[in-house]
């Protein structure tokens, strides 16, 4: 089910990681711009979760639906949890935590794609 949305989400997450890296390098704290990027990404993940769930319910190519939907919903937890944790310490290290989560989300999306295209894997 890799589609423009997922490609965009992967690109957006990498952008978040790069942006957070720039903030860390410049010793700037997370600001509204970073939060907007986070919110947009989370919204995209929510759309992916809804679209993916509908897709697996209507036209299941033989994937393990529980695992698939589990990943779709689980992917929604990462950004909010990381954001709360990262902002809990307004410091370079706090912002650096956002680099980590920006690199993890693409892995999740690729895994979701893998489950969809290679049932049983």
């Amino acid at each position: 089910m890799i589609d423009p949305l997922q490609t965009g989400l992967i690109a957006g997450s990498l952008l978040l990681a790069a942006l957070a890296a720039v903030y860390v390098a410049l010793d700037r704290l997370a600001d509204r711009l970073l939060l907007v990027v986070l919110a947009v990404l989370e919204l995209g993940l929510l759309v992916q979760a809804v679209a993916g769930t509908v897709q697996v319910a209507s036209d299941n190519p033989g994937v393990n639906a529980v695992v698939f939907v589990g990943y779709l919903l689980g992917a929604l937890l990462f950004l909010p949890a990381a954001t709360v944790w990262a902002l809990g310490e307004p410091s370079r290290a706090g912002t650096a935590a956002l680099i980590v989560v920006g690199l993890v989300v693409p892995v999740l999306i690729l895994r979701i794609e893998q489950i969809w295209t290679a049932p049983g894997a």
Partner: protein, 145 residues
Amino acid sequence: MPEPAERSGRTDVGLGRILVLVYGIFALSATGRSSVQLAQKAEEAPLAYGLSAFAAVLYIVATWCLAKPGSTTTRLAWLAVGVELVGVLVVGTLTVLDPELFPDDTVWSGFGSGYGFVPVVLPFLGLAWLRRTTGSPFSGTPTPR
């Protein structure tokens, strides 16, 4: 970056912020993975899935205890990360020597090869961080300021 003073007892600040996040990511991933495995096919590979669940619990305990430093939680963090190190080394070695031992992968199989080998690096980082911020597990844990 406000680096915590050496042996401040604060495992949750500075670089600890990043470490706790990585532990949290593994806590979430391992919990999700093992609960699906146990719920859907527990009888297929009880040992592997039981091990996945055990790893998930360790990651949750380590995440929580590193994030909330205190005399008890810091001791628990030492314990959880120590057991994690033994677990990943033992399971990693066994799965490399005998791939048939666990019919299905766990987070520690092949030293965490399915997770970019982060699982084998993480406990070393965890112990190094605990040592830097809290000294030794036996020397009495400094209380966080």
